[in-house]
């Protein structure tokens, strides 16, 4: 049964607040840090165009066709997943939550329990979805990456990439990092940057490597600039680095430090923290990283009710679809150390 509790039978005063577990906010969704594509039930077709325009000498006679009008389609179907738990509300009948149970032996549903414990579980479902979006791997991809021969060059899988893929627990789809390493049956065409253990001391050096690897054509677009996605721990390194008094200037421009509206930029590019692995960063235009689903409302939608007709057992169920797709891979930088 899903309830795992240390219960004190209620007596005396109850402190009104239930301290919830601290969770990272699901910024990928809340701040729309990637392209959120909803409305895809199945078979979403993504197309990438690559054209070649060839200038040639003018002729007044019949010209010769030259150049390429090319495009590539991929078809993707979001994977359907669920979270499901059953619990027996009778097991909390003697706890603080009985003060919000209606009078009568039949009534063992606590509104406070639903608002606190179950609500906290819902937040964890959303966070788990976000973490999987960045970090998941399918068993087929895991096997394929393990079978590659690692090397330092762009055309080889990195030893760090192979280590990362080996450690993951295989799931139903490839997360963003795995997708960048191995994509559509072959090594991904991401721009590979060999990383190291990132600390407060070397974060500027390592961020320089990431910035330098971004293709100039990507940086010189007026439409949108790349975002540098980093793990949560890097925000501490950034502030510690900025706080070294002997540094000539703040390398990372932080506005609204410590507030909800805090923003961080490096060489004019936004830095955003997401559930990436340690010593990993991605620099990509947000529209190239796609979160596919049927409906984003599903992630926050919970269904609860009696699990069986003849029992008091209750269920909590979330069902949603999810898939990660990284487009224009050769424009995106993957730093992994």
């Amino acid at each position: 049964m899903a309830i795992s509790a240390t219960i004190v039978d209620i007596r005396g005063e109850v402190f009104p607040e239930v301290y919830e577990e601290l969770l990272f906010t699901t910024k990928t969704l809340d701040k729309k840090l990637v392209n959120l594509d909803d409305g895809f039930k199945a078979n979403a077709i993504f197309t990438e165009s690559t054209t070649v325009a060839t200038m040639q000498a003018y002729t007044s006679g019949v010209p010769t066709s030259s150049g390429t009008l090319g495009f590539t389609d991929v078809i993707l179907t979001p994977v359907k997943v669920m979270f499901y738990q059953e619990y027996d509300p009778n097991s909390i009948r003697s706890s603080r939550f009985n003060t919000t149970m209606k009078k009568g032996a039949w009534n063992i549903e606590s509104s406070e329990f639903l608002q606190t414990v179950v609500n906290s579980y819902n937040k964890k479902v959303a966070y788990t979805a976000e973490a999987k979006f960045w970090n998941n791997i399918s068993s087929a991809t895991q096997t394929a990456i393990a079978g590659l021969t690692p090397g330092a060059g762009q055309g080889s899988v990195g030893a760090a990439e192979q280590t990362y893929a080996a450690a993951l627990t295989a799931g139903q789809f490839d997360g963003v990092v795995s997708y960048m390493i191995y994509n559509q049956g072959a090594l991904g065409t991401r721009i590979k940057v060999a990383g190291t253990t990132v600390t407060a001391s070397n974060i500027k050096t390592e961020m320089d490597k990431i910035y330098a690897a971004i293709p100039a054509i990507v940086l010189n677009q007026d439409s949108s600039k790349p975002i540098i996605y980093v793990p949560y721990s890097w925000m501490q390194f950034i502030n510690q680095y900025n706080n070294v008094a002997t540094n000539y200037k703040d390398v990372f421009v932080v506005t609204g430090l410590g507030t909800k509206t805090e923003t961080v930029t490096f060489n004019g590019l936004r830095i955003e923290t997401v559930p990436l692995p340690e010593n990993c960063a991605i620099a990509a235009k947000p529209e190239y990283i796609n979160w596919l689903t049927d409906s984003f409302d599903d992630v926050n939608m919970i269904k609860t009710g009696p699990a069986y007709l003849n029992a008091d057992t209750q269920f909590i169920k979330h069902v949603f679809t999810i898939y990660a797709h990284v487009a224009k891979q050769s424009y995106n930088v993957l730093y992994l150390g």
């Binding site: 970090n135 280590t163 990362y164 080996a166 450690a167 799931g171 190291t196 253990t197 692995p277 340690e278």
Partner: protein, 87 residues
């Protein structure tokens, strides 16, 4: 691990990890927890590198990995397999 020349030393810590069903119909159905020996190379969010996942390139990469100040992080975690281990 069969193809790896290295094994974990006794200094590798154990962590309480979820155990998942082997049923192909429910590949991510958690059946319980157990202590597993391994390394969180890229943090807990990226999974535990257990001994069965080791290959020579992975171990050689980890042996060279430093803490950012030149100190090896995992040198104490691996040792070459003896003849007995390989049999």
């Amino acid at each position: 691990m069969a193809n790896c020349s290295y094994k974990f030393t006794d200094k590798v810590p154990s962590h309480l990890m979820p155990v998942y069903s082997k049923d192909k119909e429910k590949p991510n159905f958690q059946t319980g927890t157990e202590f597993q020996k391994g390394l969180f190379v890229h943090g807990p969010q990226a999974g535990l590198l257990t001994e069965d996942k080791l290959t020579d390139p992975i171990v050689e990469y980890l042996l060279e990995k430093t803490d950012g100040e030149g100190n090896p992080i995992y040198a104490h975690c691996f040792e070459k397999k003896g003849k007995k281990d390989k049999d």
